[in-house]
Amino acid sequence: MAKELFFIIVGSIFVNNFVLSRFLGQCPFLGVSSKTETAVGMGMATTFVLTMTAVAAYFLQNYILAPFGLEPFLQIVSFILVIASLVQLVEMVILKISPTLYNAFGIFLPLVTTNCIVMGVALLIPMNNYNLIKSIALGLGAGIGFTLALALMSGIREDLEFADVPEALRGPAIVFITAGLLSMIFMGFTGLVPLG
């Protein structure tokens, strides 16, 4: 079990990084990776939401959708609705209890809701028949992988501020190409752990 959890986490960070090889969460990856501080804040918020989502999706799936046979057609709607509402609630709560925490990471929460990585993780859980602990591991791994990709990209982008990048490539273009090179590098981890 411990080994399996380890594989799930390492697998979703390196081998099948959610951003660089599964193509989830591209919008924030491009948008919020220009400064390391924001990138890490966003990464932490996403990791938090992903873990929460994993739990929510697990219960929703196994205690409501599956027992009532609603899974095939209510899965998408109910997942997204629950996630969106949960995140909004959490955001309000954080804003209320700690403005500092809110500024460090709460402000990123709304951005996370409509980010497909969240939905992706939620959908992968029933697809792989994960139990609760494995679901959490997946959420955590996906979040860390997302944070790693964002942090690496932000570091590179901060340095690129000083580089003489050709005019036409400035902005998203160079970020895409850099992401491509990063993704190429992450391919080195292929086959690192048997990811099921």
Partner: protein, 331 residues
Amino acid sequence: MANSILTSMLSMGGLGLVLGGGLALASKKLAVKTDPRVDAIVEALPGANCGACGYPGCSGLAKSIVEGKAPINACPVGGTPVAEKIAKIMGVSDIDSEDDKKIVRVLCQGGKSEAKVKSEYHGVKTCKAASMVNNGPKSCSFACIGFGDCVKVCPVNAITMGDNGLPVIDGEKCTGCGLCVKECPKMVLALTSSKNEVHVRCRATMKGKDTRAVCSIGCIACKQCEKICPFDAIHVKNNVAVIDYEKCRNCMLCVEKCPTKSIKSLFVERKKAVIDEEKCIGCTLCAKNCPVNAITGEVKKVHVVNQDLCIGCGICQEKCRKGAIEMVRNE
């Protein structure tokens, strides 16, 4: 079949109820006061929370805009319509009314062909950098260095470098923000009202002969301007002429007189008095007050302005009680 539809409707209804209730409750209980402008901007933004702006979500951007950290057109998704709305919310574009507009003037005419150069400077090519090496490469330590730091800093591209290595201001574009004034290490730039048309374009406080030795167009403190000014508006202080804009009436006599051409204005802009024959009652007030005797006419008869003599000072216009005189720009 009906059964499954019912279950589905019930469970979705339940979800909707619980979540709607939760959100309603939360928005009631957890409401936190924020800057109303933030909310207004959040309303105006697309709300996709896509992060394409580089800020943490729409509310993150809204906050940054209100704090002045992000431009009003930062949302790439919303485009111009959204930017316009935000502009309204933020109440920007409080640009001064047209007539009291401030613009920047270049107070140095020592360009490549006029000012002597004392050394061959190499290194970082900015005015700031050059000014820190032996006080700049020009012999006159007040002279514009000409690397164009001001050009780089102007947000509206109102400054260009002229051929002679001096900045040229586009008065139309300049918003009078004063950024360039702060940037110039030689304090060559100054903000003045756009109404002032005569400027001493030299700040060199060296003795006349020293100034002449380093620049062919610098103020040599000969005081000729002082003598000719009908309004006592220009004085040589500390070896350089200075205009008192309270008194200056843009008559431009000093400009004509200055032997080194260091006072400058645009002559085409000199205004001329024109008398409205309908209104003139021939009171002679204007003729009496004209400092250059450009107005003639007999009592109770329409007066005439000698356009060649008129210097455009506008005194007559001020004195005329009937509002019969207008100052007209000579196109």
